[in-house]
């Protein structure tokens, strides 16, 4: 139990995937302008991240490792993620247009999101079993969502502030990210 707890706190607060590990920065900057979009993106990433964690773990354990072809990890994983994302997109589009409107538009952005591949690789690097892989993926996804939502809240407020022209948009978002990650340093050593 404690182990899981440590994984969760560690991934969400201390080694936050965005603020401390620098994974998934592109969508973090791109989809944090509106809170609603951030929530949608967070949900989509969580969904894909968990599925990807599961499938990559299975492939690693039952294909790459037995055949001793670990060096194909990158290719295999990216293929899995790419296929997964497209598959999910198509299924949602077909069966739940509502959900597609809410989530689907973010799905294509996820393929080229470091976070998914990064977490999949981290799962393997850390030698997790299936249970921990899932928990680890979920926690990282939650960490991503948390950072994204906080950022979106801030950026919605910034929209009406008097930010110097040259800093508007991505530059100020990066400065906010910097100060957010400074604040998150406060969580160091919690576990």
């Amino acid at each position: 139990m404690q182990e899981y707890f440590i994984i969760i706190i560690g991934a969400v607060l201390i080694n936050n995937i965005v603020l401390a590990q620098f994974l998934g920065i592109c969508p973090f900057l791109g989809v944090s302008k509106k809170l609603s979009a951030a929530i949608g993106m967070g949900a989509a990433v969580t969904f894909v991240l968990v599925l990807a964690g599961l499938f990559t773990w299975l492939v690693q354990t039952f294909v790459l490792n037995p055949f001793n072809i670990g060096y194909l990890q990158t290719i295999a994983f990216i293929l899995i993620i790419g296929a997964l994302v497209q598959f999910v997109e198509m299924v949602i589009k077909k069966y739940s247009p509502g959900l597609y409107k809410a989530l689907g538009i973010y799905l294509p952005l996820i393929t080229t999101n470091c976070a998914v591949l990064g977490v999949a690789i981290l799962n393997i690097q850390k030698d997790f079993d299936l249970g921990k892989t899932i928990v680890h993926s979920v926690s990282h996804a939650l960490g991503f969502t948390l950072a994204l939502i906080l950022m979106a809240g801030i950026r919605e407020r910034l929209e009406s502030e008097d930010i110097p022209k040259c800093m508007q948009g991505v530059p100020i978002a990066l400065v906010v990210a910097s100060l957010m990650s400074t604040a998150f340093l406060g969580f160091s050593g919690l576990i």
Partner: protein, 190 residues
């Protein structure tokens, strides 16, 4: 349907070629990497316990359920076929994550031969200084009878280690790992 088959075949071909290329590079690099890894391991072992001529993994034999959770591996260094030293792999929790450390003990002299910080994610400039020889070398030749202590001021006692400036947490973590190994050593290799 024909369409799909065609696309599949194309993907198949591309993947195959890619796998071929990667496989080729791998066959070229694998031995180098393997050798490096081996060499690195041997080197690290040698660094913490220079005398041995063969090292065997005997974790299963020595690590029991009730052993300290910080201990991860136990390797025995043999010299001329007889156990001469023990090399522990310990993993205490540092400031921002686990720190992996090797610690070598000499059975004959019952002393700590050396330690080596293998992996850590501590803050550069602070806790990361645990890798500095200046810090690690303090452990050389310490006795195994009593626990080591961390002191912020220059050590006055033999069992004291001076903390890295402003990184007491890291220093204590390293020391706690070493202490776990020390205790195990003291209890198992009388």
């Amino acid at each position: 349907m024909l369409d799909i088959t065609k696309l599949c075949i194309f993907l198949l071909v591309v993947s195959t070629v890619a796998a071929f290329g990667v496989g080729y590079v791998n066959s070229m690099t694998a031995p180098v990497i393997h050798k490096q890894a081996e060499q690195a391991k041997v080197n690290s072992f040698r660094e913490v316990y220079p005398q041995g001529d063969e090292v065997k993994d005997e974790t299963a034999k020595y690590l029991k359920k009730d052993s300290s959770p910080l201990l991860k591996e136990v390797n025995m260094a043999y010299k001329g076929g007889a156990p001469a030293g023990v090399i522990y792999t310990v993993e205490p929790k540092g400031f921002s994550g686990p720190i992996t450390i090797l610690a070598g003990f000499d059975i004959a002299s019952r002393k700590l031969t050396a330690i080596k910080v293998l992996n850590q994610t501590e803050t550069p400039g602070l806790g990361a200084k645990a890798k500095d020889p200046l810090f690690q070398d303090q452990y050389k030749g310490k006795g195994t009878e009593t626990d080591l202590e961390v002191s912020k001021t220059p050590p006055t006692k033999d069992n004291q280690i001076q903390a890295i400036t402003a990184s007491t947490i890291t220093s204590k973590a390293v020391t706690s790992g070493i202490n776990a190994a020390r205790e195990h050593f003291a209890g198992n290799f009388k």
